[in-house]
């Protein structure tokens, strides 16, 4: 399956460069917060409540569906507080940096053969690179708040994000080796063509790269600073970590950033390991029905993302958290050797089966 992506074509409609660019930008700016609000409602409110034998929001809209929107409306009205000793410029910029880093990840995730804001040849590299920019925002927030809890939280976050960036990248390397490409759309295509012991059509790398998937999920959990890796925002230790002093719409930006990142990382995971927008059977020539892939692709991707998020949040609501040193030991002594072994085995098998 070749994927001839026309640079300025969306759903087959050809537009001027700036026209399509604007459309893409708006799409990304819409998708990211929508995904975040979806997560907040589905997982933070409803799933958590049901796991704890509660109901969660019920009164705001039917079954509380408007709760997340009410949150956003509320946050926009709150007073914008700068702590007295805060470094005002850095304090104000920190959530923006976090949010920008998150939005940039969305740029390369394909929702269908053509629905991708920028189909980079090195898509996965770009995604991982920009997602780690958020640590700068976190450090800025912690430093500028002039609050000890914030500072400790930010330092912990920095240490943790750096430690888990490595297993995340190494987990992805297995997939990249198997697909033979850094482009996310090519990785999807490779999964569509992938055959295991002669059986194809499953369209996912999750089976051969099951270790990689595990590593990716663990590292993603740590990148998202979610339990059991939530020391930077450990509620019972550090109040709210680097977000302690933030309020109003700046906190809303962090809040959206946190869950939009979860959505983006789940999107990456779905694309790398679960076949992205691809659904088994779509490799066949669709002929004049090919456009249905453009419509159904995003939905398939969304379903896969929600599946991954379910696992991520399931762990989040069930596990206690590590201690900082235990977390580092877990990353360096267990995850990284495991991911290196995974790469080695993948390489051997790749050579053996292609030879």
């Amino acid at each position: 399956m070749s994927l001839p992506v026309a640079a300025h074509t969306i759903l087959g409609i050809r537009g001027a460069y700036w026209n399509t660019a604007l459309l893409k930008a708006v799409a990304v700016l819409l998708v990211a917060p929508t995904g975040a609000l979806l997560i907040v409602y589905l997982f933070m409110f409803k799933m958590m409540a049901h796991m704890q034998s509660r109901l969660g929001p019920m009164e705001v809209g039917p079954h509380g569906t408007l709760q997340a929107i009410a949150e956003a409306v509320k946050w926009l009205q709150k007073e914008d507080v700068f702590p007295e000793r805060a470094d005002r410029f850095v304090f104000a910029m920190a959530p923006v940096v976090v949010l920008v880093s998150t939005f940039l990840v969305y740029v390369v995730i394909p929702a269908s053969p053509r629905e991708v804001a920028a189909n980079l040849d090195t898509g996965i590299l770009f995604a991982l690179a920009v997602s780690s920019v958020s640590v700068i925002g976190v450090l800025m927030a912690g430093w500028a708040s002039a609050n000890k809890y914030s500072l400790i939280g930010a330092l912990r976050a920095a240490g943790q994000l750096i430690a888990y960036e490595l297993p995340l990248v190494l987990a992805v390397v297995g997939v990249v080796m198997q697909a033979g490409s850094l482009s996310l759309n090519r990785i999807v295509a490779a999964q569509a063509h992938f055959k295991l012991f002669g059986f194809g059509g499953l369209g996912l790398f999750a089976i051969p790269q099951v270790v990689g998937l595990f590593l990716f999920l663990v590292a993603a959990q740590a990148e998202l600073t979610q339990t059991p890796f939530d020391m930077p925002v450990a509620e019972s230790e550090l109040v709210a970590g680097f977000m302690t002093e933030y309020t109003g719409f700046r906190f809303l930006l962090f809040f959206i950033g946190e869950f939009a990142t979860a959505f983006a990382l789940a999107g990456l995971g779905a694309t790398l390991f679960l076949g992205g927008w691809y659904f088994p059977g779509w490799g066949l020539p669709f002929g004049h029905l090919a456009w249905t892939r453009e419509v159904l692709g995003p939905l398939v991707l969304l379903a896969k993302i929600l599946g991954l998020l379910f696992v991520i949040f399931w762990v989040r609501f069930s596990f206690p958290r590590f201690r900082e040193d235990q977390l580092q030991a877990f990353a360096w002594k267990f995850l990284i050797p495991l991911s290196l072994t995974n790469i080695l085995v993948t390489g051997i098998l790749k050579v053996a089966f292609h030879a």
Partner: protein
């Protein structure tokens, strides 16, 4: 906030804003004494589950709180931190005083170390009586607070005028 101060906010917008504030109340749980456990039951117990009403008991920092539930005995030693906490919260902020101790000193009316009523320190929006109040009573207090917010005029609040609820 010139628009709000001039009190020319279109009605649908006011309603939207009030709806947002009344439907999403992040509560800072200032658990002080016995009432803290009943507050915990109201917030945590599946039987009461205050989250149904849109009250989110997440924030651990006062900066993200919309209202604070002062639940329990306020001592003279505790009074300054409570005032500081209230000052740390961003506007618009609300206070629920839960239990007899926070309302008026309760059974410690003659103690040498208890502040007789948290309203000596910070303004209170809703008083929930009881020693301690049942979780249902706290839920009613929260519903009353939501009603109050829904009918609030932000312009008046910003200008510092007295707020009249209900009528």
């Amino acid at each position: 906030m010139g628009l709000v101060e001039s009190n020319k906010l279109p009605k649908p917008l006011t309603r939207l804003l009030n709806w947002g504030r009344s439907s999403s109340l992040w509560v800072y749980q200032w658990g002080l004494a016995c009432c803290a456990i009943e507050m915990g039951a109201a917030f945590g117990s599946p039987r009461y589950d205050v989250m149904r009403l849109g009250v989110i008991p997440f924030p651990s920092s006062a900066r993200q709180a919309d209202f604070v539930c002062i639940s329990g005995t306020v001592t003279d030693k505790m009074a300054p931190p409570i005032k500081r906490l209230y000052e740390q919260m961003p506007e618009p902020k609300y206070v629920i005083s839960m239990g007899s101790c926070a309302n008026c000193g309760g059974p410690y009316w003659d103690s040498y170390s208890v502040t007789k009523g948290v309203d000596q320190i910070i303004p209170v929006d809703v008083y929930v009586p009881g020693c301690p109040p049942r979780p249902e009573a706290l839920l009613e207090g929260i519903v009353l607070l939501q009603k109050r917010i829904a009918e609030e005029d932000m312009g008046a609040r910003w200008r510092g005028e007295a707020i009249v609820v209900g009528g």
